[in-house]
């Protein structure tokens, strides 16, 4: 798991960041669709869904 405190900053609201962590999504890999390049909850979910099929 990513170590708390070793994250460079990606723009996302805190609960979205937490969701990404819980889903095992690396925020750096997510394409942001929000204003000012902010990663939205939907972006994270979409990314997680794409990564899923194995």
């Amino acid at each position: 798991a990513p170590q708390r405190g070793t994250r460079t900053v990606v723009l996302a609201k805190p609960p979205v960041r937490k969701l990404a962590k819980d889903l095992g999504v690396d925020l750096h890999a997510v394409t942001p669709s929000g204003p000012n390049g902010i990663v939205t909850r939907e972006d994270v979910r979409r990314h997680a869904a794409q990564a899923e099929p194995q």
Binding site: R4, G5, T6, R7, T8, V9, K13, P14, P15, R17, K18, K21, D22
Partner: protein, 459 residues
């Protein structure tokens, strides 16, 4: 109620915070639940813990307010603490909440079984001869006050929190063995009620699990309140005298008091209940579980004070809910115990969430921190309370810990809970200017400062 046994999706042994939360959540998820309790629904917290102590503490706050009312321009004469009245108030609050909880459990269709249960197999609990079969079992028998070797609780002169909560008088003087949460809270109550109080703590600080700076602020405030303490020397021996109790420390000092409150921790209730017989592992009496709170035996889980996690009611709630959801296959996120808020409800209060700077150092995390003194906080000045808010963050990273001391700061810790658990950066909090004038602004100011944009920060 059921006296005839039966078969359930979930059988829960013990109806305290952990047990009843599991019962409620499981019933919401469609399970048939049996909840076995030998005493009262609500357990320690409701009847002998959280609620009655906080009622006493509030009565203490009322007494302090009256004694100091002149400072605020209000003239009044303090008369006396009417312990019968205090108990009436306390018991009314408890019984109101108990009634509510009883109704709640009933409305969820949970089968409540009155009586002492024993694990008689991997999938069954027996109560007065009736067998309750459970596809899943949750052990939630909680904890009880413990003592030290050579220290016999007699319930009169040497007591635990249980007796302290029903004391019919204010002691003239009290020795409190143990400077943890419970000891410190009783010290605060009795001092507010007018007693001479001495706390004896073997570790070098009061509330030793807290950030050291919080301990020091509490000690300073207690000193001002005339609460005495002996730190850093363990208990050696005790003798009861004509008039009370005399306690000797390892360093040779003696402390006298009308009574002695033993508040040195709580042991799990795990003996003679059939746990080990089915293969459950105990360590120092605590039931051992994995990260899903599973005991490793059958479908038996354990929650609350019975397992070696923080002994707090809301930990019991969280664990109870977690287990119910886990059994239902919801795949809930594991609990981050660092993210559980801790509150000591003394005057002043101590509250924290996240980790201490010591723990951060142990984990090799480079940190930055800021201490905001409540002297700069308007509302705290209005309340005439002293203390501070300390925020610890990873260097260029999220907030790792919030540590506070001051009147009423216990209500501020949930903001810290969101910040910590959502891994917010100081700058993200700093962006949200807090309402003026509130105590919560102190938290806002600390984040502003950590974000490099201090507002009301005095040197």
């Amino acid at each position: 109620m059921s006296e005839s046994g039966g078969t359930f999706d979930l059988v829960i042994l013990g109806a305290g915070s952990g047990g009843y939360a599991a019962a409620i959540r499981a019933s919401e998820l469609g399970m048939r639940v049996a909840l076995i309790e030998k005493d009262k629904l609500g357990g320690t917290c409701l009847h002998y813990g959280c609620i009655p102590t906080k009622a006493l503490l509030h009565a203490g706050e009322v007494a302090d307010t009256i004694r100091e009312s002149e400072k605020f321009g209000v003239r009044a004469a303090f008369d006396t603490i009417d312990m019968a009245g205090v108990h009436q108030y306390k018991d009314k609050v408890v019984s109101g909440l108990h009634r509510g909880l009883t109704g709640l459990i009933k409305s969820h269709g949970i089968t409540v079984v009155e009586g002492e249960g024993k694990l008689t197999g991997v999938d069954e609990v027996t109560v007065n001869g009736a067998v309750y079969k459970g596809a899943n079992i949750v052990l939630a028998t909680g904890s009880q006050a413990r003592s030290l070797p050579g220290l016999e609780v007699d319930g009169e002169r040497i007591i635990t929190s249980y007796e302290a909560l029903r004391l019919d008088r204010v002691p003239k003087s009290a020795i409190i063995l143990g400077g943890g949460v419970i000891g410190v809270e009783f010290a605060s109550v009795w001092r507010s009620f007018g007693a001479e109080v001495t706390i004896v703590e073997a570790l070098p600080h009061l509330v030793p699990a807290e950030e050291e700076s919080s301990s020091k602020l509490l000690e300073r405030a207690f000193r001002k309140r005339g609460i005495k303490f002996e730190l850093g020397s363990p208990f050696e021996s005790v003798k009861t005298t004509e008039t009370g109790v005399s306690l000797t420390l390892a360093n040779g000092k003696t402390v006298e008091g009308e009574l002695l409150l033993v508040a040195v921790g709580r042991s799990p209730v795990s003996q003679g209940l059939g746990f080990e017989e089915v293969g459950i592992r105990l360590e120092r009496g605590f039931v051992q579980v994995d990260e899903n709170l599973h005991t490793g035996v059958g479908n038996i889980y354990a929650v609350g004070d019975l397992i070696p996690t923080l002994q707090l009611a809301h930990v019991g709630f969280a664990e109870g809910i977690f287990v119910a959801e886990h059994i239902a296959g919801l795949n809930p996120v594991n609990i981050d115990y660092d993210g559980i808020p801790r509150v000591t409800y003394s005057e002043p209060e101590v509250a924290s969430v996240g980790i201490t700077s010591k723990k951060a150092a142990e984990r090799g995390i480079e940190t930055v921190e800021f201490v905001y003194n409540l002297a700069g906080n308007g509302k705290s000045q209005i309340l005439q309370t002293q203390g501070a808010v300390k925020v610890i963050a990873a260097k260029d990273g999220p907030v790792l810990g919030v540590h506070m001391v001051g009147s009423r700061v216990g209500e501020l810790v949930t903001e810290g809970q969101l910040i910590y658990n959502w891994e917010a950066l100081p700058a993200e909090v700093a962006q949200l200017i807090h309402p003026h004038p509130t105590q919560s602004e102190a938290l806002g100011e600390a984040h502003l400062a950590l974000a490099g944009k201090p507002l009301h920060v005095h040197d």
